[in-house]
């Protein structure tokens, strides 16, 4: 599989409330229990070939005692409710990821750091190995740009774990399209590839950068469109211009 969408991050002030609301809105189920440091995610699988939405938010309010730029960004983009705050692309090998790191003039966040606190962990004790690029203190998400991931262990990919049963549940059949702000030229330049819209099934709405909507197919059901504002609407990306 060439470069593809892996997952989409939805920043939330209260991941329990947001997951409950999204389930009621769409019929898409979710699973719980994954976390990293002061943040947890509820995972909404979107179907084959293996995509998901991670509903992400602080679950440790004591973390606010030591603020930094990234925490403040999360607080600012969730002050008025849920916002899509990350488009996460995927590749199928570490070699491909290294090529993107080189293109970004950056390095790879390695998947085998021995400190479990650096990884997402699950309630079943599983520690998720995950590599990504670009690295750096300031996430490219804050500029409305996607980063790229490689998951060495596809068996335990978040998209493939069982969800809690819920009333009126629908079975997702995969992402149909994603609506992003900005232009295809902007994204092509960032990724260093031609025609990313066609490759990644992305439509561009010309608004501020980031994800604005995700359309998911559903078995024996109309397509489901999940529409939330991009984080850049709450906090302009110009705030993080170098």
């Amino acid at each position: 599989m060439p470069l593809h969408i892996d997952h989409i991050s939805l920043a939330s002030p209260n991941i329990f409330r947001s997951a409950d609301a999204l389930c009621k809105e769409t019929g898409l189920g979710y699973w719980t229990g994954e976390w990293i440091r002061d943040t947890a995610v509820h995972i909404v699988p979107l179907g084959p070939p293996g995509n998901f939405i991670e509903i992400s938010g602080f679950i440790d309010v004591h973390t606010l005692k030591t603020m930094d730029e990234h925490k403040q960004w999360i607080m600012d983009i969730t002050a008025s409710g849920d916002h899509f705050n990350g488009l996460c692309l995927g590749v199928d090998s570490m070699e491909e990821l290294q090529q993107f790191a080189k293109h970004f003039n950056s390095t790879v966040n390695v998947p085998d750091n021995p400190d479990p606190a650096t990884h997402f962990q699950r309630a079943n004790g599983y520690i998720l190995p995950m590599a990504s690029t670009p690295s750096g203190k300031r996430s490219v998400w804050m500029k409305g740009l996607p980063n790229v991931y490689f998951y060495p262990d596809r068996t335990h990919h978040s998209s493939g774990q069982p969800v809690h049963p819920c009333e009126g549940m629908v079975r997702p059949t995969g992402i149909k399209w994603v609506e992003c702000g900005g232009t295809e030229e902007d994204l092509a330049k960032w990724l260093g590839i031609p025609n990313p819209g066609e490759l990644l099934k992305i439509k561009f709405n010309g608004k501020s950068p980031g994800v604005w909507a995700v359309c998911v197919g559903a078995e024996e059901h109309e397509d489901v469109v999940i529409r939330r504002p991009a984080a850049s609407e709450a906090v302009p990306v110009s705030k993080y211009a170098d």
Partner: protein, 256 residues
């Protein structure tokens, strides 16, 4: 009136980290996903319809909007060897609404209403849509009587025992240990105080409780383990980390 231990609340800064650590300490499994408004719990069934709820605030914006000082936050903010974990509640159970109403009347409060069907978001909920329908007492709608310090147990009535948090399946993980029930608990204060609160001649004849004379509240829970030694889960009680209780003006109420 049959009074029993229903559950324990273990306040945590980060319920995910705390539950993971409690699993490693005891071998007990837990399940996830229960929440009410700005609070969520990870649940550890202990056997015989009793459970620990590892409980914390999971909404940072709601926390910022809460009145300060905040008793529970301030207790959990005090560092200890358990990343700030403190016991924040001992919850007793009765077996009928009539018994719960009698407890409330005796202590000068009332019973929280069961409005779970019409107001589900004020109740603990689960991802599968299940809404908890328990009631608790005493609820003090005015100032809490000075006679009764914080840390004394609330009383609960759960009409749906199969749906109780103690009776849901835990998430499988390596080296899980089966809990076989609470052997004893350690409580602060005196037996006379707890006995009067419970309305019984001697509390330790009703529930397996020992007293350490420290601040009122739960200090330790001893749980049996299948094929292993008992395990004692020891954390400071919240009151032990509060320097000046008089600055907390809010009226503590059991959740409805």
């Amino acid at each position: 009136m049959a009074i029993s231990i229903n559950h324990f609340s273990l306040g945590a800064r980060n319920i995910y980290e705390s539950a993971d650590r409690l699993n490693k300490e005891t071998g007990f499994g837990f399940w996830t996903g229960e929440w009410v408004q700005t609070t969520a719990c990870h649940m550890f069934p202990l056997g015989k319809d009793v459970f620990i709820e590892v409980e914390g605030t999971i909404d940072a914006h709601a926390y910022l909007a809460m009145p300060k000082p905040n008793y529970t936050y301030d207790a959990l903010d005090v560092d200890n060897e358990y990343n700030g974990d403190h016991w924040t509640g001992l919850m007793l159970g009765v077996e009928s609404l009539e018994e719960l109403e009698a407890v409330a009347k005796r202590l000068g409060g009332d019973v929280s209403p069961d409005d779970s069907k019409v107001n589900p978001y004020s109740h603990f909920r689960r991802p599968d849509g299940y809404t908890m329908g328990y009631q608790s007492a005493p609820r003090f709608t005015g100032p809490r009587p000075e006679k009764w310090p914080r840390g004394l147990p609330s009383f609960y009535y759960y009409p749906d025992v199969p749906g109780r948090s103690s009776n849901q399946p835990v998430i499988a993980r390596p080296h899980l240990v089966t809990a076989t029930g609470v052997k004893w608990i350690e409580f602060g204060g005196t037996e006379a105080l707890l006995s009067e609160w419970m309305g019984v001649p001697k509390a330790s004849d009703v529930i397996p409780v020992k007293f350490n004379g420290k601040e009122v509240g739960l200090w330790a829970v001893c749980v049996g383990r299948d094929g292993m030694d008992d395990v004692v889960i020891r954390r400071p009680t919240a009151a032990a980390s509060i320097k000046d209780p008089s600055i907390y003006k809010d009226v503590p109420r059991p959740r409805s």
